[in-house]
């Protein structure tokens, strides 16, 4: 049983949550009498690629950019959208579990599906992969912030069904306040907790990201921490545009530090940052060039591994 707790959690959720929990209800629709010549402008104002065609709330079809182009190619006369729209629609219902939507995305490879309200048969809204991910993240209690989290929807989808989920969290670390340090690693730690990852693994990630974050603040004037979770590992990529590390081998030696005195007075610069990271990780790769910056990659396995030393 090497399956991961957090994928379990996601997988429970995709059955628990309903499509109505994710679908967007504020949808631009058009009446069937709308002229084909108007379609381009309508879609353009909302920056969308398709619009449901409704009569009294009932879905008659969908008119898309593709329909518009086909109509243009025919060089026919202007006609109502009802004559050119796609009528063979694959729809989902509001009360179906989210997993149905995910299966549909995989099976049909469409970008979005109309969602029909079971009782009334009327259009409830539209669902895209993006909506599903946002709903899942919300349900997991992950503090969702567009600036902070990014993801590859396609990965996420193929992966949830294949037991591999990929999530990326990115944190900007500003370099001004050493005392306020630890903010990014503490947020990352919370998010991993919400994902149901094992506390021992979370502790390793927390320590590695904390030490990396303090390094960014103390030595590099800030930088970025990117955490990527795939099915096997948590990869921390820490990058900065700081002064670089002249001698990496020496920097890895416990007790070696280049910290200034005032930093040391605050209890930093013990020369144990990188060694601590190393102890938490299966792999630590450091690339540095003087005057340009440093980038380190820390790989922490999601499974308990013997090779990984304390803590």
């Amino acid at each position: 049983m090497k399956r991961l707790i957090y994928t379990h959690k996601v997988q429970e959720l995709v059955y628990e949550l309903k499509i109505r929990d994710a679908a967007v209800t504020d949808v631009l629709t058009v009446p069937p009498e709308t002229k084909m010549s108007e379609v381009r402008q309508i879609l353009r104002t909302r920056k969308i690629t398709a619009a449901p065609v409704l009569r009294e709330g009932l879905l008659l079809g969908i008119v898309s950019v593709e329909d518009y182009i086909n109509w243009l190619t025919l060089e026919g006369e202007d006609c109502p959208v009802s004559a050119c729209m796609s009528k063979d629609l694959i729809v989902l219902h509001d009360d179906e579990p989210m997993i149905h939507a995910m299966k549909y995305f995989e099976k049909y490879r469409y970008y979005e599906f109309p969602v029909i309200e079971r009782e009334s048969g009327k259009l409830f809204g539209i669902i895209t992969k993006f909506d599903v991910i946002v709903a899942l993240l919300k349900a997991l209690g992950i503090d969702y912030d567009r600036k902070e989290i990014s993801y590859k929807p396609t990965h996420f989808f193929n992966d949830v069904s294949a037991d591999r989920t990929k999530l990326v969290f990115t944190y900007k670390v500003s370099g001004n306040d050493i005392k306020a340090g630890g903010e990014a690693s503490s947020r990352l730690k919370k998010n991993l907790g919400s994902l149901g990852i094992h506390p021992v693994i979370i502790r390793r990630v927390a320590i590695a990201s904390y030490e990396a974050e303090m390094n960014l603040i103390i030595y590099a004037g800030g930088g970025t921490i990117k955490a990527t979770l795939d099915g096997k590992n948590i990869l921390l990529e820490v990058t900065d545009n700081g002064p670089g590390i002249p001698d990496i081998e020496q920097a890895l030696k416990p007790g070696y530090s280049t910290a200034s005195n005032w930093v040391r007075e605050l209890g930093f610069g013990a020369g144990m940052g990188l060694p601590n990271i190393q102890n938490c990780a299966e792999r630590l790769d450091i690339q540095s060039s003087i005057g340009k910056g440093t980038s380190i990659r820390i790989t922490i396995p999601l499974e308990e591994l013997k090779e990984v030393r304390k803590p």
């Binding site: 005392k179 730690k189 502790r203 927390a206 605050l266 209890g267 930093f268 013990a270 060694p275 803590p311």
Partner: protein, 116 residues
Amino acid sequence: MKLNALVDALNLETVSGESRLNEEVSAGYVSDLMSDVIAHTSEGNIWVTLQVHVNIVAVASMKGLAGIILINGRKPEDKTLEKAKSENIPILLSGLPAFEVVGRLYRLGVSGMQDA
């Protein structure tokens, strides 16, 4: 040994994390260097330090420490106290110097070794 027993015996002032005083203390560590504490403490340890800035809470929370004893009458910074309350980390104040605090803890049976 439980944390509240140490609080009583050393006459410590509890300024945060009151609800965790009935937790067991596994061992003790004294250091003023963050990374040193990260490297050498385990869950349930009591940490003796003179540092009062907010990072001590981050370190204690990260390592699952039982609490932090601040020595020589030092007080936590406002931000530190705020964070300690929100993360529920016990911060305990002592007027004694580090050597004395550690000595008394040891006499009470708190060891510096995890499995001693």
